[in-house]
């Protein structure tokens, strides 16, 4: 029984000591986490911007008009540059805020680029099919027309050659 009471006293004293000491350790800990968190936010923002850029490039390759998306990407790029500069200068709160803004725009642009790419691929496929069908029909019409014309000419003029004009004959 006495041992249990002693253990409780010791635990209580240890708890008080930890609470008291946390006042001194907390600011240091929070400052460290702030820098690390900001670095992580910056890395996230850079990753989001690169992903968005890659999505925009794919949409562009698919034939989409990406002018609007690039304008939004430039906004995100501006925020990212501000974030990186603020980080280098030690303004971690501002850097994290700018990085978040950049990452959010990057995410929006990536989603929009994927939609644009899908629409462009669909339109491109339709356009390709239309072009191919038109070409095949055109080639077939010319081939059949040529054969028909040739046979017609052969039947009409094959024996005695082309008719000559009155003056020539």
């Amino acid at each position: 029984m006495t041992g249990t009471v002693s253990a409780l006293k010791f635990s209580f004293a240890l708890m008080l000591l930890l609470i008291a000491s946390s006042r001194f350790f907390a600011p240091v800990t929070f400052a460290g986490v702030g820098e690390v968190e900001t670095a992580s936010a910056l890395a996230d923002a850079e990753g989001a911007l690169v992903s968005a850029y890659q999505a925009v490039l794919k949409a562009e390759e698919a034939g989409a008009n990406v002018s609007g998306l690039l304008a939004r990407l430039n906004e995100a790029g501006g925020f990212l540059a501000q974030a990186r500069m603020a980080y280098r200068l030690g303004y971690f709160d501002e850097a994290a805020s700018f990085a978040d803004s950049s990452r959010n725009i990057g995410g929006e642009v990536q989603d929009a680029a994927l939609e644009l790419k899908d629409a462009a691929v669909s339109e491109g496929w339709q356009s390709t099919m239309l072009t191919m069908v038109a070409s095949v029909v055109g080639v077939a019409v010319i081939a059949i027309g040529s054969l028909w014309t040739w046979h017609f000419l052969k039947r009409r003029y094959g024996g005695g050659g082309f008719p000559r004009s009155e003056s020539a004959s």
């Binding site: 690039l70 540059a81 191919m132 070409s135 040529s146």
Partner: protein, 198 residues
């Protein structure tokens, strides 16, 4: 004259027409090289938006401005970064011939995207905030670029030939490389001399 004598001409004409009809489809699958060179442009213009009147004699707390621009002729939309750096006469510049950027840390930077065939341009305001001068040397303590203050602590010795304390503000162009998944120095930089006076 018999019609059979024209058979070859008739066939050539028919094939030419068929080729013309098939050209739109062939163009979908056959891509001829454009033959044009791909490159990027980097330029610096003075406050009048011309290649003249660049800031040269710079006083402490004086406001100066230049325009920095980039043109994209790479054949695709590019992701660029421009680093603004500051050096004295002895600190290293980038070496474009072997794609080596200056090891000096960047002060200001721009991140931007440019479509193929288009250009990007931005105004850059700068101001020398504080200097310390002795007889034969001057130290620029801090510099403000577009309203952001940067500590530079760069010391220049008196140039007896040109009568001044000379520094350079220079701009490096970097390009995002999809293959290496990172920015690489794009072997282009522009710079301007500054004669800082207290």
């Amino acid at each position: 004259m018999r019609v059979e004598e024209y058979r070859d001409w008739f066939m050539v004409g028919s094939l030419a027409l068929m080729l013309a009809a098939a050209t739109p489809t062939l163009a979908l699958f056959v891509h001829l090289p454009s033959g044009s060179e791909s490159f990027s442009e980097l330029w610096l213009l003075g406050p009048g938006h011309k290649a003249e009147g660049y800031p040269f004699n710079v006083t402490v707390n004086g406001d100066y401005r230049v325009y920095v621009g980039v043109g994209n002729r790479l054949g695709y939309s590019a992701y660029y970064r421009v680093y603004v750096k500051f050096r004295n006469q002895t600190q290293p510049l980038p070496v474009d011939s072997n794609s080596t950027p200056s090891p000096l840390p960047p002060l200001y930077e721009f991140d931007f995207f440019v479509r193929d065939g288009e250009v990007w341009e931005s105004l850059l305001n700068f101001r020398v905030l504080g200097v310390e001068r002795s007889n034969d040397s001057m130290t620029v303590n801090s510099l403000s670029i577009n309203g952001v203050a940067f500590g530079v602590n760069s010391t220049s010795l008196w140039d007896a030939e040109k009568n001044g304390f000379y520094y350079q503000l220079f701009f490096e162009l970097w390009l995002y490389n999809m293959t290496s998944q990172g920015f690489q120095y794009h072997s282009r930089h522009v710079r301007m001399w500054l004669n800082v006076t207290a």
